[in-house]
Amino acid sequence: MRALRKYGTVLRLSLQNAFVYRSNVIGGFLFYTVFIFVFFNLWRAIYREGQVAGYSLTQMVWYLCMTELIMFGCKSNIYGQMNEEVKSGSIAYQLNKPYHYVVYQFFNAAGGMLFNLIIYGILAIILGMIMVGPIPGFRLANLPFALISALLGMVINFFFLMTLGLTSFRLEENFAFFLIYQKLVFMLGMFIPVEFLPGWLQGITRCLPFPYVTWAPARLIVAFSWEFFREVLPVQFLWALVSVLSALGMYRYGVAGIQAHGG
């Protein structure tokens, strides 16, 4: 219980920090708006040619608003921070603190992520309403379930990025892996719903963690069904567990090789 309270305090402080430095989001707001505007134009041009994989244009634009929202919500720079702390050696100052390094980093970033989710959520709703109007058949009662899925998506993304960042314990250069991971998340669910992929690729994609970061929660928002919720939630839990364990494992493996010298 005391441990939980400790991390609760870290979360509260990081949330307070996010509110204090709220002017930082102005740039993010502009970039988010540009992304949505460009993709709205692109998909409008695509839909001029016909229907796509069972999604209407309205659903598609809302889908993009939601996937971008989750990605902006996930924004935590954890990959860059891990690289920096490991390479500069400043991680050594945190090893003797009364908390678990990996858990601390999560709660320290969670405040900012929650803040992002709230404010970009407001922007996403405004942009979606202006561009295509309300989501057809949307029910507010289903929103909490979609939010659970979104939070799990953020957890999966955070811990996989942390794992990649922590590889700098053993690798001199890991930027290429970061780019590949990022693009897999973009292409397998964020820019294109999994239903758009060719049949053979859909099967493979559903076995990978990438679509469960944005595709699953975004689809629950634009086209909620209990059947889909029951299908994706256990898989999301499983990938969340795998991502947490991989971050913990990489941390343990990396810390075992640290040599600290006084001075």
Binding site: L30, F31, I46, A176, F177, F196
Partner: protein, 266 residues
């Protein structure tokens, strides 16, 4: 003429020094370039899926056209970030007072400042354009290759000019890093999607403040149907835009106040 020769010599010297410094960390250099090329490659997948779903044209472009604009945009971005990577740091250099160092040197301040840094991963962007051209346009299409090279050079200069112009606002209004970042982001976004998806005001923006039309869309038109007048317009507008950015920077520089910061460039 002598002045242009001196500028080109300076660019070539910086390129040589930056490249040999990158080669000191060969592994890191190759990994970053490879990662960037691979990362860009994922967008081919996106377009392949989109065209497969539609089976026709998007915004007036077919798959081959989209790959052409992607190739030009990627190589132009790569070239500008290899030669003039400091274009992204102009605001920081002005605010921190690091600009003083460049003012004291007997070389053109803007060119000296722009060339002083390179981005390793930009080699991946540059190479990606060539690979994409070879894979999607074929080696026999001479006009496509010629326009790709023209687009790459003009595009690289225009992207740099856009960035210089946007960051120069720092001299007038203080920190313009957001404007600088946004201007380049918009330029890239307007370059990598078919022109026909945009309408009205955005189309106007694309031929004026954010000259994306001249970076990729006009070279594409020239590659498909060559017209000497259109080429002359492309060259004229690009030259005018670059001169305007150059003039705007020097006009802003007159407002610069030194912070008397002492730094060492090694």
């Amino acid at each position: 003429m002598k002045r242009i020769g001196s500028i080109l010599k300076l660019i070539a010297l910086y390129f040589k020094v930056n490249l040999s410094s990158a080669m000191e960390y060969r592994g890191s250099f190759l990994l970053q370039a490879f990662g960037m090329a691979l990362s860009n490659g994922s967008f081919v997948f996106f377009w392949w899926i989109a065209f497969q779903q539609i089976g026709g044209r998007i915004g007036g472009y077919d798959f081959k056209d989209v790959m052409f604009i992607w190739a030009v945009a990627s190589s132009a971005f790569g070239a500008s970030n290899i030669l003039f990577a400091n274009m992204n740091n102009i605001t920081r250099l002005i605010i921190s007072g690091e600009l003083d160092t460049f003012l004291l040197q007997p070389k053109d301040v803007l060119i000296n400042l722009l060339c002083a840094k390179t981005t390793l991963s930009a080699w991946g962007d540059l190479a990606y354009g060539f690979i994409l051209m070879a894979l999607t346009q074929g080696s026999a299409d001479g006009s496509a290759w010629a326009m790709f090279l023209v687009g790459m050079v003009i595009g690289g200069l225009l992207m740099t000019a856009v960035s210089v112009m946007a960051h120069t606002f720092t001299f007038y209004f203080g920190d313009a890093s957001l404007i600088g970042g946004m201007a380049l982001e918009l330029t890239i976004n307007f370059c990598i999607y078919p022109e026909g998806i945009y309408r009205g005001f955005v189309r106007l923006l694309m031929v004026t403040l954010i000259p994306a039309t001249f970076i990729v869309h006009v070279p594409l038109r020239l590659a498909r149907t060559f017209h000497p007048l259109l080429l002359a317009i492309l060259l004229g507008v690009s030259l005018l835009y670059c001169c305007l950015a150059y003039w705007f920077f020097y006009r802003g520089l007159k407002k610069y106040e030194s912070g008397n910061l002492i730094i060492t460039r090694m």
